[in-house]
Amino acid sequence: MAFMRKQAVVEALDINTITPDDAEKRITAGVKKYATNEANFASADANTPYLGHIVGMGIESSNLADITMSIERQFLTKMTTKTPVTEGSSEYKLTAGELGKLRILDGQDALAATPGLSVKMLMDLGHMAKNDAYLEKVMSFAYVMATGDGWKMADALKKMAGKAEKLAGAERSEALANLKTLISQAKDYDALLADSSKLAASKQKAYVNDKGGFDALSSELNLTLDKIKGASTGGDAATLAKLRGEEAEIRTRLKMSAAKLRVSQEVSDAAGKRRAIEDKKVAEVRAALQSSVSAAEKLS
């Protein structure tokens, strides 16, 4: 007997018969049961992060896969034909075919941090037509992360100022020393957000790490291939089989590493590009940071 899921039955509809805005609404509605921040969920739009409690819907990471599966349950697509990525490969991608269940493959949802980015993902994967007007209002993943960090920082500073205000004597002076550092960090971050090139440079760090990892793994693969060549000459079947296993393992790691590198490269590139929507969101978080700084400076 097939296992039955407990969620409410949702009638899936052809994603190409609805507008991106409708798709976004359905996606948001689909995750309602996982949202723990009711207020933020009630006012959620394309750019409300699924995760996080300050500006996000408060969905916990234990429900991340549920978000993706909820999207899959709601829509039908024509991208249903499994096509090998390369000839003879066991990996596949989805190409045009008969209308059927929408599938989001492993790693394809890595950047889908908001309902808007989920819709963008569906467009990027060819499930629905690209709509530039809609995408104009969707903040990039890089900025979802960057503004999210800003909100957290502003919140931490505000809370610390509130705490320090109630202290006296030696405890107050120690708290004020910490507050001074927090103010300085918040100002630095405010300056970072103000300059998209600086922000891009900071995101470059993760990219450089990932690139280093990818290059190192490529060297490991070359080394293993050299070992295989050496073992083939010697005719050592057992060693050869072991090395072939190692090669397959490194190739799997390399594939994941390449996928990861694509994500960090996209984040690094996008951090340097700012459109009206990113400007607006950056302005909001900078105002929050500046307000927290100004309140904290009154104490110190």
């Binding site: 296992f3 990471s61 234990s62 949802d109 999210g148 020393a177 060549k229 000459t233 010697g234 790691r253």
Partner: protein, 470 residues
Amino acid sequence: MMPLEAEDVKILRRQWRLSRALVVPVSLVVIAIARFHFKYRLDENIDAIRADIWKKLDAHDGPVIWAANHLTLIDSFLVYWAVFPVSRLIEDRRIPWSTPEYTNYYKLGGPIQSAFVRGLLYLCRCIPFLRGGEDAASENWRIKAFEKCAWVLKEGGAVFVYPEAGRSRSGWLEPKRPKDFLGKLALEVPTSKFLVVYLRSDRQISTTAAPPRGDRLRVAADLIDGILPGETNARDISQRLFNRLAELQQDWWKGSEMARNCGGNDVVDLKGPLLGENFSEDRTEADQEWLERHLTRKELAYLAEQGADKLFRTFWKFFCAKEACHKALGRAVIVVPNGAFHELEVDLFRRKAIHVPTGLQMDVRFTDDDEDKLHCVAVLRGGFIGDDETEGDVIWNVAEVPPGTSPGAFVRDLALDMIAGSNEDIGSSAKLALTENYGLPGVLWKGAPQDWSLSLSHSGRFAAASFMIS
């Protein structure tokens, strides 16, 4: 022990003579490859480090056992370059014999490449080791390699052995897991001293073939006694050696921009209503597709082995460990994208987890595993996770969130109280502050950020915090 045969000694003497004759060109080639092919740079104060080490070496007329941390396949060459100035190349006895793993180097590429590598290793005074294999032949190989090392030392020479017996998969030398080989070697040749070296390039995070090109290599080194009066146990000697290496490791990390302590935690409220969402009422079955989105093939196989009655708990143990590892990796600026559960593979039996793209290995430990909740801590580097016998460097606290309290605010207060309560110098949590740096929580004390790897988590009724005291 199996004494070396006359023929073995003859072969070693011949290798020594040949390498002595060619030591200058071979060393210059090694240095040129490091500098011009890989574009590595040595520490700015390398002259002072060398002067200090050679002052100690000059005062010791006996044999020397080189012992260094191990992260890349070319570490021996790099350590040699860092420690040995060209002006000292005539000091033949000081040039170390190396002990490379046979399977890594001796059958590389086609016949020409393989012959070249073998020739180079021969001239670099290599005694091939075979670390794997439990059969008699492999065992004999190891015994003979040990005897060859001992022979070199008894002749007043130097040998280079990695005390960890392999490259560290976490990128961290763990002193609480010593290996006995070097202790045995010191007992065999009691006049030896240990030349202890910690070398690492600035951006070296994980185990790789070579450090990142263009990197600066920073070094910390010391010469210490092989055997102290009264020491008769190989483990005691090895432990002392590992402790000194660990101190040098700390010195190295003091000058690093990377965070040293990389740990994480995660708590799961097993009674949380949404946790059973994809399970049957009695929790003995689960939606296979949903499981596959979270677990790798190996993990799924382990889950199946546990049986239906343990399905629910085992799944959430995997999840909890992955979340804790995700946070530990974040400290090392390794971002596991949200939902990329397959990038982490957890071995619940061995209490290890691996980050598949980088191969980095982490330790995991369940501090709470009861009917109500799971709490897992993970350590990538910076300290020992601890076990049933040995206390670790991670401190944690798991508590129930009082009704009506925000779990986010509660876990932050819980963390600061825990840290203040575990250090008499702090005493009160009012002296601490929480900071958020690029999405990771941090602690300020006396206005300065602390490298404590604070990790926060909350789930349903529970909140938990952990930090590292190393």
